[in-house]
Amino acid sequence: MSVPALKALFPGDVQDTAGRRAQLAEIDASCRWPVLYFFLSGLGWLLLGTLLALVTSMKLHLPDFLAESSWLTFGRVRPAHLNTVIYGFASQSAIGVCIWLMCRLCRVPLMAAGIILAANVFWNLGLTVGVVGILVGDSTAIEWLEMPAYATPILFFSYALIAVWAIITFRLRREKQLYVSQWYLLAALLWFPWLYSTAQIMLLIQPVRGVVQAAVNWWFAHNVLGLWFTPIGLAAIYYFIPKVIGRPIRSYYLSVLGFWSLALFYNWNGLHHLVGGPLPAWMITISVVASVMMLIPVIAVAINHHYTMWGHFHKLRYSPTLRFIVVGAMCYTLTSLQGVASALRSVSEVTHFTHHTIAHAHLGMYGFFTMVMFGSIYYIFPRITLREWPSQSLISAHFWACLLGLVLYVVPLSYAGVLQGLAMNTAEIPFLKVVAGTLPFLQLRTLAGLILAAGHVAFFANIVWMLCRVLGPYQQPVRMILTGTQQTAVAGK
């Protein structure tokens, strides 16, 4: 393989010069505050979202819990949870990672930090208004778009600032070779505003008639996952696995195939959420077919990621980044296959409308995306603050709590959903019997949630500790526990 080709595959550099390092240090330093804004406010929303999640989960098996207040009724806390974790935590950490990766891969220091700061302020403002709006009863009851129409334009404005900033950065890039992560980032940045504005206009501003709303709703809601979170998550995986283990991505061609097939098929998937529903059959059939076609990008990406890792699993011991990212990559494969399966009519007949869908959503948004974001933050945070993570035990606690909580959440609840679906399809079983059958699993889910919450608290403690050090004197260059034994990767691109 030629040297330029190799370079394109591998974000780490082949020859490592002092100049390169200096440039990197300059870029990381320029990212410091803007990326911190997004990570820290994201983390704040994660803690709030976790609390809301616990309340939601408990209400399902203890229906009297906090029942007196209309603000905290199930039908409001649940969307409040979704919106805080999706638009508060996940999107903000995604934007943080996106900014940092863009600067590094384009090899330009972050420009116009004021724009990013403004975007952050508006994003948090819009979200606060939106979440309070949901709790006081202005929820739109359109899934994934619950925030009322008086909040969303603020978010959109904030988003526009970021997208414009990113596109300008991309245009001014000093590195002309594009790495696969950049394709995904650019795509996500362009897809999201299109999705969001279409959904806002056609559902809230000038609502379309009848079930067309449902079509727009699920076109949007599924694409937020597929065309916003997935590309950013994959961009991070494509960057960090090679980076940390010091080995190029397995195949350039597979990454091209993975990218374009995702772009082609994913955006047609949404209406598989309406199998059996009141829309013309052709619409749903197209989505089911496109969902099955998703096997192509999923398998291409899986081979690429997992083969790159092959033979390097021992490095998981040393690098928290790698641990989180590899678990994330595995969950991506699993959740995608589960998604393809549940789009099939015969499976959907059972699992649709059950807790199975909730388990699936968490395998994707938590197992895949959140784990990848955690891994990325473990890598980026020390580099932009020039401080080491204070506690390895807290990192371990965070990781194991996440993994245990995740397994305990997803596996039993997926199974419970199937049982629930089979029981519901058997008309002779009284409905309250079906409900009773799900109860133990709902209780187990609260336990899983508590474990995840403990992990988040450990993460938070480590970050607060680190921030105290940021305010204190400069210590020593970042090393060791971030990336493991390799010193090479630390100095990479």
Partner: protein, 233 residues
């Protein structure tokens, strides 16, 4: 793949395809759908909801009932919807013409409510159920909605006529009564208006003996058991 413009165009083109296919096309095909007019009775279905029930739909939206209740009936033989008595036929696009927002739902933690008004239009049952589901459905995990009710001291003139008839352990302490607020009554009107059992060309009801004549009379989304229009005075 280092050609920026190509990447850019590809990104836009791919999303544009489904934007046309799954957003604009459905809007073209379904956006012009009109209510069905029965040739013999000239009954129009569906009709927009009347005031009270429409207000109740807002409460349903605001309280997020959609996170546990769907409003769609899948076709005969696909799942247990029809066998469970959640509807006499599958639901079709036309059923939702006037719903804003359309609340099809993706969860059945509780039963489907598409035709709840045909199943159980009893106001009293519904109010009690909303006040505390354990009264009517012990073991339910549906939340109680006590804030839709007012706890009042019983006045000199005795209990209010619309107070809930509650027995221990659900009754308030002596001297108090539980009275539904406006929102509770509107919400119940909305639930009572949920009916789709009307024969449509695209979805007909399999007529079984006994209820052959059922549908069109109740085609107006009017609550069952509503007082018949008073004769002209």
């Amino acid at each position: 793949m280092n050609y920026g413009p190509l990447l850019f165009l590809g990104i836009l083109f791919t999303l544009a395809s489904s934007w046309v296919g799954l957003v604009l096309m459905p809007n073209r095909q379904l956006g012009t759908l009109t209510p069905h007019v029965n040739a013999t009775t000239s009954a129009i279905y569906p009709a927009a909801r009347a005031g009270e029930a429409q207000q109740g739909a807002e409460t349903y939206r605001s309280l997020g009932c959609i996170y546990c209740h769907s409003q769609q009936v899948r076709p005969e033989g696909f799942g247990g919807d029809i066998a469970r008595g959640w509807g006499k036929r599958r639901t079709v696009s036309r059923d939702y013409l006037f719903d804003k927002p359309v609340q099809l739902g993706t969860s059945r933690t509780g039963p489907d409510l598409t035709n709840f008004g045909e199943r159980n239009g009893a106001v009293d049952w519904n109010l009690k159920h909303l006040y505390n589901p354990q009264i009517t459905s012990p073991g339910s995990i549906m939340p109680a909605y006590p804030f839709l009710f007012e706890k009042r001291r019983i006045g000199k003139n005795g209990a209010s006529t619309n107070a809930l008839a509650l027995i221990a352990p659900f009754a308030p302490e002596a001297g108090y009564e539980i009275v539904p607020k406006m929102e509770a009554l509107q919400l119940v009107e909305y639930l009572r208006s949920l009916k789709t059992s009307v024969d449509l060309p695209e979805a007909s009801i399999k007529k079984t003996e006994g209820d052959a004549a059922a549908p069109d009379a109740s085609a107006t989304n009017a609550p069952t058991g509503a007082p018949a229009p008073a004769p002209a005075k």
